[in-house]
């Protein structure tokens, strides 16, 4: 379904969406930051509003009139025939993502104004936060892989700056560097994929790439396969799939709005967006979707189980995000990219809501993040937060009227259709995610268990703190109902539509969810001792769980190995062996040779004459022989 090449007036809002944040950032950095740091958020909120308005305009026009375009805007790198250029591409997929980013991002920006009100790095935070917002928008609208890589790296940079916002905390610095490095390792795959695509196709624009793919004019099939796998590796790095997921839970060191926007709703979904965007490339590679499904399912289950055991509120949500990213990958693996994107949107809403609620709770305590021991029975002191949290929790668990149900059950339906281990995983995932979210719900908001301090001094946050949360949880409630409109939107950009939900699937899905809720109820409220005494009696299990079932030490070991290798090479070999012996060894050798020469001839005259005789003999011999 080729995108009409003509330049409709849709280009203007698309450009506005990019220019507004740029202007806000420039204005904020050069004028407000030195003059009135406390005012930096004003231009940024304005730009959020502009972006939200344009996004809504774009989505509506794409949905109603099917407009869209893929236009190169400017040349970037040119070397004769070889060239890479900037461009804008608006189609179903990118407009949906843009809308989600704009809406969720805007709300979280509002929420952050109050949350970060008395943080001394206020202006620095908002500038980095909006830089992320800009790079996410750019990433969604780019029309070629290289441009996408540009914004992809910018998100990595802004996540480094934001996670490390409270840089005086050593753990925050380490988490920021770990996040950046893991993303960088993922980007290694992306960089290589870029180079391969450039070598094979000469151009990385989606339009031309997918057209030649469809026409089968592929010069080097193995290279394209390798590129596909590398793109999957890049997605794993950014969307925290199994091998490269460990940075996300540590990224909770950053302020809560960062966790909410980046590490829940938007940035981490960039990987899924990349896979869906390059679906024509990935779909065609044999064995790749199956692998994506397997990795996705495993990550979902693995993270889900871990989420059920964590104590820190934000850590639980972090593992839940990893789990849901696994679900989205699982959906892509089941050749249902539309479900993945639909789940991505719904997940964006309810996960952001959950994070903001957790943020409000922690804010009440005056700490960056709250622990299960400190909370308990908060439904009386913070009723509004409880309401939002419950709505989002129901949506996450996939209970019937909520958004989560529509997106997760679509995936469950595909899983059941695929049958075998995929069906089992689908059900298990449904149960596990229901379990950990309701465990958190019960332990936080219902009767404080003996170990918990209870609702001593919790209070609802101000207006700015609750209104965005309310909107988000309403979104979590209602977004699911738009699924038909949603599938038509996606089908316009070459992505297969959402399957119809059969009643059998809804029954099975709800049953799995209810089982999870029951288990949570029993363990959390029924046996309050489970979470504390039972696990304390098993310290080894506790430590094993704390180390992510052995993943964290493995990662630490790899990092240590690379540092030791660097040490051996940099200090040991280069400085002490190669430089000292092979390079700086020559002068002493020459001096030694000079010394040797010195001994040969003492001061005595007869030595001289002897040597003269030797020389004359040599000359004579030469003369007579030659």
């Amino acid at each position: 379904m080729a995108i009409p090449g003509g330049v409709p007036l849709l280009l203007l809002p698309a450009l506005a969406v990019l220019l507004a944040p740029v202007l806000a950032l420039l204005f904020g950095f050069f004028i407000l930051r030195p003059a009135a740091p406390r005012r930096t958020h004003l231009p940024i909120l304005l730009s959020c509003a502009v972006v939200a308005a344009c996004a809504v305009l774009i989505v509506s026009r794409v949905y109603l009139f099917g407009e869209g375009f893929d236009i190169p805007v400017a040349h970037w790198m040119v070397a004769g025939a070889w060239s890479v250029s900037f461009g804008l591409r608006v189609d179903g997929l990118s407009s949906v993502m843009l809308a989600m980013v704009a809406v969720v991002g805007g709300l979280i920006h509002l929420w952050a104004c109050e949350y970060m009100a008395h943080d001394e790095g206020f202006s620095r935070f908002f500038l980095a936060f909006h830089l992320f917002f800009l790079s996410m928008i750019g990433l969604v609208l780019s029309n070629s892989y290289v441009e996408l890589y540009l914004f992809w790296e910018l998100t990595g940079l802004s996540s480094y700056l934001l996670i490390g916002h409270w840089y005086h905390k050593a753990s925050a610095r380490r988490a920021a560097f770990q996040a950046f490095m893991t993303n960088r390792i993922g980007d290694l795959g992306f960089f290589l994929a870029l180079l391969i695509l450039l070598r094979v196709f000469g151009d990385t624009r989606f339009l031309t790439l997918f057209r030649s793919l469809k026409a089968g004019a592929v010069g080097d099939p193995e290279a394209v396969t390798l590129a596909g796998w590398l793109l999957f590796w890049a997605a794993c790095g950014k969307s925290a799939q199994f091998p490269l997921y460990f940075w996300l839970p540590d990224a909770m060191e950053g302020p809560t709005p960062v966790s909410a926007l980046m590490h829940a709703a938007t940035m981490v979904t960039a990987g899924i967006f990349l896979l869906v965007r390059s679906w024509p490339l990935i779909g065609g590679i044999p064995g790749l979707p199956a692998a994506i499904a397997a990795v996705g399912a495993f990550t979902a289950l693995f993270a889900g189980v871990l989420a059920g055991t964590r104590r820190d509120l934000k850590r639980i949500l972090a593992y839940s995000t990893v789990s849901h990213l696994g679900i989205m990958a699982f959906a892509i693996g089941l050749s249902q990219p539309a479900c993945a994107i639909f789940h991505l949107v719904t997940h964006g809403f309810f996960k952001a809501a959950l994070f903001l609620c957790a943020g409000n709770i922690a804010h009440a305590l005056g700490q960056p993040s709250a622990d299960l021991d400190q909370v308990g029975g908060l439904r009386k002191t913070m009723p509004l937060t409880f309401l939002c949290f419950a709505l989002a929790a129901f949506s996450l668990a996939g209970i019937w009227p909520f958004a989560g149900f529509y997106s997760k059950d679509a995936i469950l339906d595909a899983a059941l259709a695929a049958g075998g281990w995929r069906a089992l995983c689908g059900l298990l995932i449904g149960a596990v995610s229901a379990f950990y979210i309701f465990r958190m719900l019960f332990l936080t908001f219902f009767g404080p268990s003996p170990r918990q301090k209870g609702p001593a001094h919790f209070h609802e946050p101000g207006a700015l703190g609750t209104v965005p949360v309310l909107f988000l949880s309403l979104g979590a409630l209602s977004v699911g109902w738009l699924h038909n409109g949603f599938s038509t939107m996606l089908s316009r950009s070459g992505v297969p539509a959402l399957p119809e939900l059969s009643s059998r699937v809804t029954l099975l899905g709800s049953a799995a969810a209810l089982a999870g809720v029951l288990l949570a109820y029993v363990l959390a409220l029924g046996l309050p001792k489970w979470d504390w005494e039972w696990r304390e009696r098993r310290p080894r299990l506790e430590r094993w769980l704390a180390q992510d079932l052995g993943v964290k030490p493995a990662v630490a070991a790899c990092a240590a190995f690379v540092r030791r290798l660097a040490g051996i090479l940099g200090q040991g070999w280069d400085k002490n062996i190669w430089d000292r012996w092979f390079i700086e060894g020559w002068p002493p050798a020459a001096l030694g040779l000079g010394e040797l020469g010195q001994e040969l001839a003492g001061g005595g005259l007869n030595d001289y004459l002897w040597w003269m005789a030797v020389a004359v003999a040599a000359l004579l011999y030469g003369a007579l022989r030659l």
């Binding site: 070397a79 005086h168 960088r184 700086e584």
Partner: protein, 478 residues
């Protein structure tokens, strides 16, 4: 405007500065600014008319003749030299330096301009070597702790490489004479009948070693960390900013045009050494505790990218490699200026000697941050454009070397960011001097802004610069 004035003016100014004591600083500033102005002149006169500016003196002795010319490759390097010299003079404006300091920098600029201008092998070699003398005195007289050792090591190491290169030139000239009966040292005329067989290979290897020492290729690089750590601020900026480029310029101007098919046949070896350099440099940088040594080793890695691009002999590779030359000049120049500023204030260079500077010196942190991210190749800044095009070029030829390059890119973040966080973000440990570190002065901030702005400009819009570079090196593509 004759091209010879480009190197004669700084040379004359150097003599003048050496004689007059106190005004030496003013003479230096004037001369540097004038040279920069003159070097920008050809650009306004239209890039296609560059060849008109060339000049060749009478051929006197055995075909040696004084001939200067400028093309797409030399012009940007001339700009870089003039620009960095002006920056260095401005940056050390407040330091109480003797007239010799300013004279040395002007002499250095004269020699470097000469290298990029000369089209006669004899004069090319003459200016190539003459550049060593001022740098020797700069490192030796105004360096830090064991500057003496570093200065002598730098001079001898580079001189050894260059003497080998001279022998290579002599063989080429003599073989040319044998083949055509004509004595000439002109770079254009010497290209046609090339010495073949074992002699050709020997002279090519001599050239590779001669230029390799300057680039530096990995086994021949150990003079670099010592020279950089001991050189004063201005010295290390000029050393990293321009003198390392002489090596790659030598490859582009002499080694490849003279032995194109040998260069092609030995691509796996040459590319291999460059790729090893990239990874080796990055790993070594990770192990350093001294800021300047870290930046020095990172230069080894960055110039490895230049060579990867150039040896690939593809349009994008050549353009990317030569663009990376300029990028490296800007980013490493800025980094060395900042490390120099830290050293001037705190007289320490260790990573653990600082801490918590972000709060104390925001502008210093901002410039350091931008330079660090530019040097690790963040897209949107200049580092990425050079590296991406070089690796794209090499991927077309030898994918395994491109893989090594990409690993190098990843490792770059592994050594740059911990250093940044240790110096600027971490809490100051005991024995740290961050209490004495004051923020950049207006002048220093201005000079650094003059370095950081082009980084962003090249990062987003490298078009015109790439076109200029391609007009110079495009011919080498295969």
């Amino acid at each position: 405007m004759s091209l010879s004035a480009l190197w004669l003016l700084p040379a004359a100014a150097a003599l003048l500065a050496a004689c007059c004591g106190r005004q030496a600083r003013a003479v230096a500033l004037g001369a540097a600014a004038a040279t920069l102005g003159m070097s920008l002149m050809p650009a306004w006169a239209g890039l296609d008319s560059l060849s008109r500016l060339s000049y060749a003196g009478p051929a006197w002795f055995y075909g040696i003749r004084y001939s200067v010319a400028v093309d797409g490759l030399s012009l940007p390097l001339l700009w870089l030299t003039a620009f960095l010299t002006l920056i260095v003079i401005l940056f050390s404006w407040r330091g109480r330096f003797s007239s010799g300091y300013w004279a040395a920098f002007l002499a250095l600029e004269a020699a470097l301009m000469g290298v990029f201008l000369m089209r006669d092998l004899f004069f090319f070699y003459l200016f190539w070597e003459a550049a060593l003398i001022p740098m020797f005195f700069i490192i030796g007289l105004w360096g830090s702790a064991n500057r003496r050792h570093a200065a002598v090591k730098f001079f001898l190491f580079t001189f050894a490489g260059s003497v080998l290169m001279l022998l290579g030139f002599l063989v080429i000239v003599t073989q040319h004479h044998l083949a055509t009966g004509v004595w000439t040292w002109d770079m254009e005329l010497l290209k046609s009948p090339r010495p073949g067989g074992a002699l050709g290979l020997a002279s090519f290897l001599a050239l590779v070693v001669g230029f390799g020492v300057k680039v530096p290729l990995v086994p021949l690089h150990t003079w670099l960390p010592d020279a950089h750590t001991e050189a004063p601020v201005g010295g290390s900026v000029m050393l990293a900013g321009v003198m390392l480029k002489m090596g790659v310029y030598g490859f582009l101007r002499v080694a490849i045009p003279f032995f194109p098919e040998l260069c092609w046949r030995l691509l796996p070896w040459l590319g291999g050494v460059a790729a090893v350099g990239v990874i080796y440099g990055a790993l070594c940088a990770m192990a350093q505790q001294d800021l300047k040594r870290l930046v020095a080793y990172s230069s080894v890695a960055h110039l490895g990218f230049c060579l990867l691009g150039i040896f690939s002999r593809t349009q994008e590779g050549l353009a990317g490699g030569s663009l990376q030359l300029l990028n490296h000049g800007l980013t490493t120049g800025a980094l060395f200026l900042l490390v120099g500023a830290l050293y001037e204030r705190g007289h320490k260079r260790g990573l653990s000697d600082f801490g918590g500077l972000a709060g104390r010196a925001p502008w210093l942190t901002f410039f350091f941050g931008v330079s660090i991210f530019a040097s690790i190749g963040l897209p949107g800044l200049n580092g990425f454009v050079g590296e991406f095009m070089s690796l794209a070029g090499m991927m077309v030829r030898l994918p395994v070397l491109a893989l090594a390059g990409v690993i190098g890119v990843t490792l770059a973040a592994a050594y740059a960011l911990p250093a940044f966080s240790a110096v600027f973000l971490a809490e100051p440990g005991e024995g740290s001097v961050s209490a004495m570190i004051s923020d950049l002065s207006a002048l220093e901030a201005l000079t650094l802004a003059a370095l950081v702005l082009p980084m962003l400009a090249i990062g987003l819009h490298p078009g015109p610069l790439l076109a200029l570079l391609r007009s110079g090196v495009g011919g080498l593509a295969l």
